[in-house]
Assembly symmetry: C2
């Protein structure tokens, strides 16, 4: 097998470079969640195509760590690859750190490319190496020499997101950022997060599939702002726009050289994002203020324009998905439909919408047991036929000039078993319970998560992922800092839910070799009552597409859940039906009538 040969080549390179243990994360120079093909070293080496992977290779072993979303897929893809799966978070499975701690011997060297490892990760690995009396080498990329046809480094063209879409200008954003820097006592700020850079500058591009960003660093000082990007990606219009806003442009590669000459005393950085190679470039005397990037919080709280536009984007997206469901229900059993052909039809409906730019991530169209893999994606070799029974799970989204969407519907394509109906009803209850939350200022996702998870926990079940994530605005469909999760992490306290934040609500049930159910809506946090007990918040629905009434056991819903469902369905009909054909609207009327 190809992957085994690649492993051999890597091991030869390790020997040559005196590296005993080599670590490869699925990451780019910017700690991006999704990476462009250029950076898919873990996939090149192991064949695993999931979106979360860390590989650790020694002369005798090769291990790959991924999370619960990908266990089933990883088992299949790693078969015969020479690399073993480590199921993150499962009992008895060591973490990457624990594995290194146990296997890195005295006088050995742990190696990785410092450009793809964050300062925080590096500190952890360095500490382990020190404890084990071993060394760390961050200078070598050992895949470069092996990967003959490595994809091109992305350099797509930048374009300006106009004020009517961005809501707030570059000047205003820069001015706010400089205020935040001052408050934190920093005279400079290095931003390496691609979402932050795109958001701050009101620029977009196409460097990562479905994530309209561009490879870049931004360095901000009191009277200076430098964008490090590829000159060939910047046309005259963008160049003028940047010049007009006193943003200096330098080549992407120049940053290391520039940082080495840097005179700032205190540089604000987020150690969980900035790569260690950049940090090591600064003069030794530079001090760092370690904190979140102020842009991360700022962009998570959508401005009025973004909110108004996002609502429009969701109507368009709801129309596309509703039309798709109608098409599926009226065509299933009459013609051959596969996971991929269904996905193509959905794309067509999205493309019909005005200002549609791109899908916001690879559509997950998963039939029957395939849907038990949370992040399954159909390929030419694995493209199941959608039969006239059970569920087709479709998790998809779009980027529109107005905003970004993320929606999952699990569609009944024929008769359902008793178990499937009960499971679907349970997931509906999970979804509605979170949507209906009212909570005071100060709550974090961890306070609310049990609302969604309660009905599955009651049965000793769970889903191996968060209940929801923030959604970027024509940026990554996943963003922080907020989210719905139950495990309380160190920094949870700063993840307060705030008005203007948009978070998904996507509980599910996944039965290996059986079926997968997920229902995902997006929720906008808004102000509720203000009383003697303080300011309360609640959620406003952004997503409008019907649930599967035929899959719901009404008697399992509480009267509160039933009311929430009926209210939601009434809103779906109101908002979506004006954009449908007569036949589609008649069907929508039927499936949204009160239960």
């Amino acid at each position: 097998m190809e992957t085994k040969k690649r492993l051999e080549a890597l091991r030869a390179a390790m020997k040559k470079n005196k590296i005993d243990m080599y670590l490869i994360p699925m990451s780019d120079f910017h700690a991006s969640e999704y990476v462009t093909d250029y950076f898919k070293e873990t996939e090149f080496l192991t064949g695993f195509t999931g979106e979360n992977a860390t590989v650790v290779v020694t002369q005798t072993k090769s291990g790959l760590w991924t999370d619960g979303r990908f266990f089933i897929q990883a088992k299949r893809e790693l078969k015969g690859s020479g690399t073993t799966l480590f199921e993150m978070g499962e009992e008895g499975v060591p973490t990457v750190s624990e594995y290194i701690k146990k296997n890195l011997k005295a006088n050995q060297t742990l190696g990785y490319d410092g450009r793809v490892i964050t300062l925080e990760q590096h500190r952890k690995f360095e500490k382990i190496a020190k404890e084990n009396k071993a060394k760390v080498n961050i200078k070598k990329n050992l895949i470069d020499g092996i990967w003959k046809n490595r994809p091109q480094f992305p350099k797509t063209s930048l374009w300006i997101l106009q004020k009517k879409y961005a809501g707030v200008t570059l000047e205003e954003k820069l001015s706010d950022l400089r205020k935040a820097m001052k408050e934190k006592g920093a005279d400079a700020h290095l931003i390496t997060c691609l979402y932050d850079n795109a958001w701050l500058l009101n620029l977009r591009a196409d460097d990562i599939a479905s994530v309209p960003v561009f490879m870049s660093y931004v360095y901000v000082k009191k009277n200076k702002c430098v964008l490090y990007a590829f000159p060939e990606a910047i046309d005259k219009k963008v160049a003028k726009y940047l010049a007009d806003h006193q943003v200096e442009v330098k080549d992407y590669e120049e940053i290391y050289k520039d940082l080495a000459k840097e005179t700032a005393k205190k540089v604000l950085i987020d150690p969980t994002i900035v790569n260690v190679a950049l940090i090591k470039s600064f003069p030794a005397k530079t001090e760092f203020v370690e904190d979140f990037n102020p842009t991360e919080m700022a962009r998570s709280i959508k401005n009025k324009t973004e909110i108004k536009n996002t609502k429009e984007a969701h109507i368009k997206d709801g129309v596309a998905v509703t039309k798709f469901i109608y098409w599926l229900k009226t065509h299933i059993g009459k013609e051959e439909i596969t996971e991929m052909s269904a996905s193509d039809v959905l794309l067509k409906y999205r493309q019909e919408q005005e200002n549609f730019l791109d899908v916001s991530f690879d559509t997950i169209s998963a039939y029957g047991p395939n849907a038990a893999m949370m992040h399954y994606s159909a390929t030419e070799e694995h493209n199941a036929t959608v039969e006239n029974k059970s569920f087709l799970l479709v998790d998809s989204g779009g980027h529109y000039l107005e905003g970004t969407t993320d929606i999952t519907r699990t569609i009944a394509v024929g008769p359902l078993t008793k178990e499937e109906k009960h499971a679907y009803t349970t997931v509906v209850r999970c979804n509605l319970r979170l949507q209906e939350a009212h909570f005071p200022k100060g709550c974090i996702g961890q306070n609310l998560d049990i609302l969604a998870r309660g009905p599955v926990w009651d049965e000793g079940l769970d889903y191996r992922c968060g209940t929801g994530h923030g959604v970027g605005h024509i940026l990554s469909v996943h963003e922080g800092p907020q989210g719905f999760r139950w495990k309380v992490a160190d920094k949870s306290k700063v993840w307060e839910l705030k008005p203007g934040m948009i978070t998904t609500d996507e509980p599910g049930l996944y039965v290996e070799d059986g079926y997968g159910i997920r229902i995902e809506n997006e929720l906008l946090c808004v102000e509720d009552k203000k009383t003697e007990y303080g300011q309360f918040y609640k959620f406003e629905q952004l997503t409008f597409t019907p649930f599967e009434v035929e899959a719901i056991n009404v008697e399992e819903l509480t009267h509160l859940e039933r009311k929430a469902l009926n209210d939601y369905h009434a809103a779906v009909y109101d908002k979506i039906s004006p954009y449908l054909t007569k036949a589609e609207a008649a069907w929508l009327k039927k499936v949204t009538k009160p239960l």
Copy 2:
């Protein structure tokens, strides 16, 4: 007024001792939650009788800080006292630290008695003083000289909690403790928490009203265990018991002298409990391992004997409270009943139970608007007549040889308003929702709290306290580390809910000048299913006394809540009716029949 004169005397003492700002917490030398009268310096000085108070006095101002449970009471009691109320946690109200930071001037001295301030508190105050270029004096107690008839220092007799009640012997507990010390790398451990000392030694006494502990320090080393207590409190039997278990006994006061000569290298202490005067007594070279006392976690997880016995205690307690409710309902309107006379009747029913030792805290018997004060206690001057309408809230508990109870019932003593019924129904829902929780290993109270608080948050309401606290076993009725609260604190992660922990479930609604409703049951955390998603936990009810069916709007309950209520009431009848008179049992049958 008396309190104004006392303030004057304190201010004179402050001048004499060159102390510009004097701080007095409501605390003893052991950071006990409830303190014996000897330590009620804040009450002596201000007249405020609530159980949480910190007073800060300067030459011109005197302020008292307390929490939401006591706002209404404090406003009343501080009227004309010369001391102003600071409502902790309210918007715009400075904390004690913020107040000191703002008002302590350069070169001034902040004073307090180091014996009543924990190391952690001291560090905070010392830091502020340093920032303000001020000094701290921890050596002076300025109340001693003013308080002429200060109550006696408590020295009640110790008694042995037999193995059949304690479940685990002193040897076993000491052996486990030494293992935990070793794991933490400590060669000595100073325990100053009175609950820990009583639990560890299987000894009890009566030094604090309703908290059967004794003034003591315990110092544990590998081959040595010293109990510092009052010799006159130890009779021959207890002395022999301690000697038989190699526990050396020294005078309570000797500890400071002994610590000064201590040779241990690393002493395990909990900086949130140990007072700073003790810490300053150690030789300068002593190092400290700062962590929770292992005994705190150990005693929060009840052993099999404690659990079995606690269940028995709750049956007895349920019988007493049920008889009391029947008595109240059959006597109200026919004879004069006051808050205090009702409380006396309840006490009589408890005293009729075998092995009853004492109430576990001062009974709160609060009629109508008085119940809006969460920790109201009736006094000769404030003792309302219970009229034939609205609610009487009774929060009470008992210590039995088998264990400790804490229960609140809000009893309808006549016709209720629509608002009262809706409020009562809401609190029932809050209570049942938490009781019904199922959750995986790893959850903390913050994950679950919204189950209880949800229904009140939905209406923009709240209750200004945690939803529940741990319950000590013939110890303080309040204990940690677990609890149900929603605000995530720094150390929340260690407060995992574990099987064997007993926590109260006591949501409420409090309407100033209106009414107060609280329904409190105790919940035992037990194992639920173990599935591919891990070990799940749930709660087992310990408290069996009926809710007020006449106050419940059945149509507001979900079908799940109604089922939980009916199941609970069926269990109440099964467990309690065998111990009732015929008339009582007939009534209980009626009020527990399924809704």
